[in-house]
Structure formats: structure tokens, C-alpha cells
């Protein structure tokens, strides 16, 4: 497994505290990339190339999280979810706050509670945790040679793909804006602001999608999402994507579902921005241990690069 991917998985990147991973991303940008900006929503925008055409390639940088809403007298921390996942898929995980304090996530009566092993509210406050602090799911990363097993892979795959694309992409026929956006777990709030500022000709959002091995499988290539609850993929951009895939012999899967897209607010900005979502298939997405295929990641990156260079 690529060292970079490992580092990304190792870095806690919670909604509202994406600065740690943004720092890591900046560190891994090629030296010749100089047009790097952070905007009011904390998005990192990397601009390469110039020309009449303006493209936005966007992913989110935050992973699913748990926000401390109340600290009980006995030291238990009640938490609420940030992101779209269910209690069953994450209970009994080990979770970690930004300051390194760790605990176990329990589900009791449909409510999520973190046990830090402390005995009083005062002890918790002294450890540096208070209401409003956010914790993330931690877990070991397992290299299965052609696959990777670990926590939050679905939330980091997009970052990895964008970074690799920035590194590899050669022929630019326009200005490409790579957006590492914040608050993706909350519906793509950062992405919206970036889309407004950039006002591109079109936008491709890169994310991950659950693979049930029935209509979406791993190892079968990137997934083109035709439509979901919040975004109808623009048909002209879909054609562009299909051509690039055919030309470069990349197999793509097609799907439609009732999820919410990172592009849901992007496409309604300004006079409207044609937007399509491309996903990496991921088994057990949203659970504490996810499974992804390295080949799918590479093919998705290749597809994005081919679309940009077309």
C-alpha cells in the first residue's frame, strides 16, 4: 500500500477540524504547484493550468464523526453523529478525539456513548474534552496486498485520488481547480462555497459508494452515479466520462440510488454548474472497518486524469 494512503488513513480528519489533514495534503503537493488557497469555509483549492475552460474536481476531507453533546456526572460522554451512518455499524469501535484521548463507543437504547475509562465529569474536562469536541473511529489498517481493510477508507480515497491526479496529470487544456472540501459529511457545505467562488464550466465530485456485490462490485472499476436523491448527473458530462472510459479501456459501472451527493449544492450555484459524481466502490461503507480494492482506486484516478486530458 502506498505510504501516502497510509498516512491519510492515519490522520484524524473530523468535520470542523479538517486543518490537520489539509496540512498533510499541502505537504504532499508537487513542488511545482504554487497556486494554493484556503477559503472562508476552510476548503483547500489547488489550481493548475490555464485556459478558457475551467474545471472543478472536488472531494471532501472529513470523515464521519461523533460530537460530544453532554458529559454525565459519571464521566460518560454522550455523542451525536456527524455523517450518514447507523449506530449498529460503528458500535463497539475504539474512538479518538483530536487531543489523543481515546475510548470505546457504546450503543445503549439507540443512543451513542463514549466510555473514556474516566469516573467523573471533572476528570473528563481535565483531560481536555468538553461539549462540542468531535471524535472519530480509529482502527488498524490492514494491507491485503490488492485490497485495503481499515477505518474511514471511503472518506480518504477521494483525497488520495485527487493528490495522485495532480501529480500525474500532464496535458492541461484549461484551468483545473482541485478542491479538498470541508464538511462533506454534512451534505457538502464546503464544496458549495468553493463552487460559488470558482464558478467552473463543469464539476466532477469524487467519492466512494457502497458495494453490495449485486449491482455494484469491487474490482469492476469506478462507478458512474447517474442520479441520486439530490443530483441528476449532467448528461453531457456523463457522455464525456463514458468516452474517456471507452477510449482508455476503463470499465465503469452505472448506478442510481437514493443517497445524497457531495455535488448536491454545487450544481445549483451561480447559473448552474453541470456536475457528475464518480465513486470508488467500497464494501461495508459507513462501518468501522471498510474494504476497498487498490485497482479500483487506481482506475478511478486514471479515469479522472483521462477526462482532464481529453
Amino acid at each position: 500500500m502506498d505510504k501516502l494512503f497510509n498516512e491519510l488513513l492515519d490522520t484524524l480528519s473530523l468535520s470542523g477540524s479538517e486543518e490537520y489533514i489539509i496540512k498533510l495534503i499541502k505537504k504532499n503537493l508537487p513542488e511545482n504547484v504554487v497556486n494554493i488557497n484556503e477559503d472562508k469555509m476552510g476548503n483547500l483549492i489547488v489550481k493548475v493550468g490555464q485556459g478558457n475552460k475551467k474545471i472543478m474536481i472536488c472531494t471532501h476531507t472529513d470523515e464521519k464523526g461523533l460530537i460530544a453533546s453532554y458529559i454525565e456526572k459519571d464521566g460518560k460522554v454522550r455523542v451525536e453523529k456527524i455523517g450518514d451512518f447507523n449506530n449498529e455499524s460503528v458500535q463497539n469501535s475504539i474512538v479518538s478525539f483530536n487531543n489523543g484521548v481515546k475510548g470505546k463507543l457504546i450503543s445503549s437504547n439507540n443512543e451513542l456513548i463514549i466510555d473514556l475509562g474516566m469516573n467523573s465529569r471533572e476528570e473528563v474536562l481535565k483531560s481536555g474534552i468538553r461539549e462540542g469536541y468531535v471524535a472519530g473511529i480509529t482502527g488498524s489498517i490492514v494491507d491485503l496486498k490488492t485490497k485495503i481493510l481499515g477505518s474511514n477508507i471511503s472518506d480518504k480515497a477521494g483525497i488520495y485520488i485527487l493528490l495522485k491526479t495532480i501529480e500525474q496529470v500532464k496535458e492541461l487544456h484549461g484551468e483545473i481547480n482541485f478542491v479538498f472540501s470541508t464538511q462533506g459529511q454534512l451534505g457538502g457545505r464546503g464544496a458549495r462555497a468553493a463552487a460559488y467562488s470558482i464558478d467552473p464550466d463543469y464539476c466532477i465530485v469524487v467519492n466512494a459508494i457502497n458495494s453490495n456485490d449485486k449491482d455494484i462490485s469491487i474490482d469492476k472499476g469506478p462507478v458512474l452515479k447517474i442520479m441520486d436523491k439530490t443530483l441528476i448527473g449532467n448528461n453531457k458530462i456523463i457522455s464525456l466520462i463514458e468516452s474517456a472510459a471507452e477510449k482508455n479501456n476503463i470499465n465503469i459501472q452505472r448506478t442510481l440510488n437514493r443517497d445524497s451527493s457531495l455535488g448536491s449544492f454545487v450544481h445549483k450555484e451561480r447559473s448552474g454548474i453541470p456536475t457528475v459524481e464518480i465513486d470508488v466502490p467500497c464494501r461495508y461503507k459507513g462501518s468501522s472497518i471498510e474494504l476497498i480494492s487498490i485497482e479500483d482506486i487506481n482506475n478511478t484516478e486514471k479515469l479522472i486524469k483521462d477526462i482532464i486530458e481529453a
Binding site: G233, N234, N235, L256, K268, S271, G272
Partner: protein
């Protein structure tokens, strides 16, 4: 050319959400000579009729219709699908068009009743139980159709009694027909306002095109024209909308108070029949997104009452369409820039 013929041409052209470019040529044909016509990259269609350029009025009716989408290709010519905005109960024995590599006619069938268990016979239908039968062999089907292809409903246009007509997609081709009617009224008129007739995209999936077009045009006034429920036996009994009773003017937070009072004044002055309906919050129409575009736009919502919304047998009264167009045209003819300042003052 009259409102009924315009409506017929519009309804019998397919335009599912996201593919409103499919109706662009028809719009160009019908609105020819009524203004400058263009389409933007998200399929919002604009018809611009110049006035004295003192201020901008935007009329908006959505050009998309409810639709189905192919989710799976099965054997023997059958397709599985999702229904977007349509009650699956109304799809049984419905003829459709699958927009694959070419237009493929299909039939939505159901398990014969004598094979249904007693339980099944009593329950409603879910979209997952229905299949589209294309009659094609496996090889041809796979060549012509893929996952994500659009499917639209088939229906001819019929005249009923009392100037009522029926077809699919009256929601919101009736609105576009009303804009045509308005544009015709204004053809020879002089007016202070620059008028934009907008056929907006993707209303049926969440009035998405409205925000984009309102941003693009940045009008002083935005008038959304959509359809609403009648208050008959199978309509919304809380309202007071009758087919033939005239356009229904909306009252509520989504609508600019003084502008609404002005249009009612105009209706009374010119003896144009109208009805009133109240919406306490989100009207679920383009008006909702128009109102808060950019720094805010003074918004009106005018609705044409119809029956059996989102089915292939929507019923509307042609006089209501004509009166909607007429009412808005009279408003535009009368509005002067000076008066506007007073109307917009709080």
C-alpha cells in the same frame, strides 16, 4: 395557433428532469417571433422579449415532467425501474417510451390477478413489483438500453367537456402555455419592463433550475407559474380552486405582499376571474428558490388548478391557461418603474 394547440404540442413532447433539451426545438417553434430564444448549459430555456429596459420581470414555468428511470436489465425484454414523483398505483397497464439508443415503446404490466394471493390483492402496488415489457430479445435489449436510461409516460391529448382537456405533463406545460399566451398578449404592446420567459429545468426533483435561472437573469420581479390542486371530490378540500375559476393567486410568506395586492387589483380592474389559495410556508414550487436568489427577489406564485396531478390523465381548463397569461400580461403592461419603487418599499 391557440392555447389548446400549444398545450397539445408541449404535452406530447417528452422532457424528463435533466433532459429538458429534448423540448427545446418545440419551444423554439412555438415561441418563434415572440422573443430571443436560448438554452443554457443546465437546460434552462430563456425567451427574452425586450421592453423599455427600465427593470426586469421574469416569468417561470418548468419544462420538466415526472419520469421513470431504468435500474436493471432483465431477461426476455423486461426492465426494472424507479418512479420519480409518480404514484406506482397509476402505472399499472401504462404504456411508456424507453429513451435508449432510440425510442423504444414499452408496457408496464402486472402479475395477473388470479395468480395473486389474497393479501396481495388487498395491498397497494410498489414500483419494485412492476416491470417494463419491451418485447425485445436479450441481445437487442442490451444493445439499446442501459442502466440510467430515462422512461417517459405515453398519452395522447384529449378534449373533454367544458373546455377541459387531458394529457400527461399538464404539470407544467400548462404554465408554459400560459407564458405563450402572455407573450402573445405582449407582442404588440409597449412596456417598461424587459421580460424573460423562463422554461426552468429540474423542478420536479426539487425546483433546482429556479435558483440557477434567477441568479442568471437577476430580475426585479419573479413570477412562478405552476399547477395546483383543485378542490373537488378528489382534490384538496381545504382549498377553494375550481377548474374554470381562473388562475389561483397564492398568499403567504413566499409571496411579496404588495405585489400580490397589485395583481389582484389588476384582475379586478380588467374583470379577469381569479381564485386565492394560501400557502403557510414552502410552496414546493420554483417560487421558493426564486425568492431568496442573490439579494432577494419580489416573487409571485400563480397556479393553474388541475386534477389528478402526476398521472397521465391530468385535467386542466384551457380558459384558466388563457386567463393566467392575460392577467400577467396586464400586470406587465401597467407596471411602471416609478410604481415599482413604491411597491418594493417596506
Amino acid at each position: 395557433m391557440n392555447e389548446e394547440l400549444v398545450l397539445k404540442e408541449l404535452c406530447t413532447t417528452d422532457s424528463p428532469s435533466g433532459r429538458e433539451d429534448l423540448i427545446y426545438n418545440k419551444i423554439k417553434e412555438l415561441f418563434n417571433g415572440l422573443g430571443e430564444i436560448s438554452i443554457n448549459n443546465m437546460n434552462n430555456i430563456y425567451i427574452h422579449k425586450k421592453g423599455k429596459d427600465k427593470f426586469k420581470v421574469m416569468l417561470m414555468a418548468h419544462s420538466d415532467e415526472v419520469f421513470l428511470m431504468v435500474t436493471d436489465i432483465l431477461s426476455n425484454g423486461f426492465l426494472k425501474f424507479n418512479a420519480i414523483g409518480i404514484d406506482p398505483k397509476t402505472l399499472v397497464s401504462q404504456e411508456v417510451i424507453v429513451h435508449g439508443r432510440k425510442e423504444i415503446p414499452g408496457v408496464i404490466g402486472i402479475k395477473p390477478p388470479h395468480l395473486m394471493k389474497d393479501e396481495e390483492k388487498k395491498q397497494g402496488i410498489k414500483a419494485e413489483q412492476l416491470l417494463i415489457d419491451t418485447g425485445l430479445d436479450d441481445e437487442n435489449l442490451k444493445k439499446q438500453v442501459k442502466i440510467g436510461d430515462y422512461v417517459t409516460l405515453s398519452r395522447q391529448f384529449y378534449e373533454l367537456l367544458n373546455n377541459n382537456v387531458t394529457c400527461k405533463a399538464i404539470d407544467d406545460r400548462a404554465g408554459i402555455a400560459a407564458m405563450w399566451s402572455c407573450a402573445n398578449e405582449l407582442k404588440q404592446a409597449q412596456h417598461d419592463a424587459d421580460v424573460y420567459f423562463v422554461c426552468s429545468c429540474q423542478e420536479e426533483v426539487g425546483h433546482r433550475g429556479a435558483k440557477m435561472a434567477a441568479y442568471d437573469i437577476n430580475p426585479d420581479i419573479g413570477i412562478a407559474i405552476d399547477v395546483t390542486f383543485d378542490s373537488g371530490e378528489f382534490g384538496d378540500k381545504d382549498r377553494e380552486n375550481k377548474l374554470g375559476g381562473g388562475p389561483s393567486i397564492c398568499v403567504g410568506p413566499n409571496v411579496h405582499c404588495k405585489l400580490r395586492e397589485k395583481i389582484i387589483e389588476i384582475a379586478d380592474k380588467h374583470n379577469i376571474p381569479y381564485q386565492i389559495e394560501v400557502e403557510p410556508g414552502n410552496t414546493g414550487t420554483d417560487a421558493w428558490d426564486i425568492q431568496i436568489a442573490r439579494e432577494g427577489i419580489a416573487t409571485l406564485l400563480i397556479s393553474i388548478p388541475i386534477k389528478y396531478m402526476h398521472t397521465t390523465v391530468e385535467v386542466v381548463n384551457v380558459d384558466d391557461i388563457r386567463n393566467t397569461g392575460l392577467l400577467i400580461a396586464e400586470l406587465i403592461k401597467e407596471l411602471s418603474q416609478d410604481e415599482l419603487e413604491g411597491l418594493f418599499c417596506f
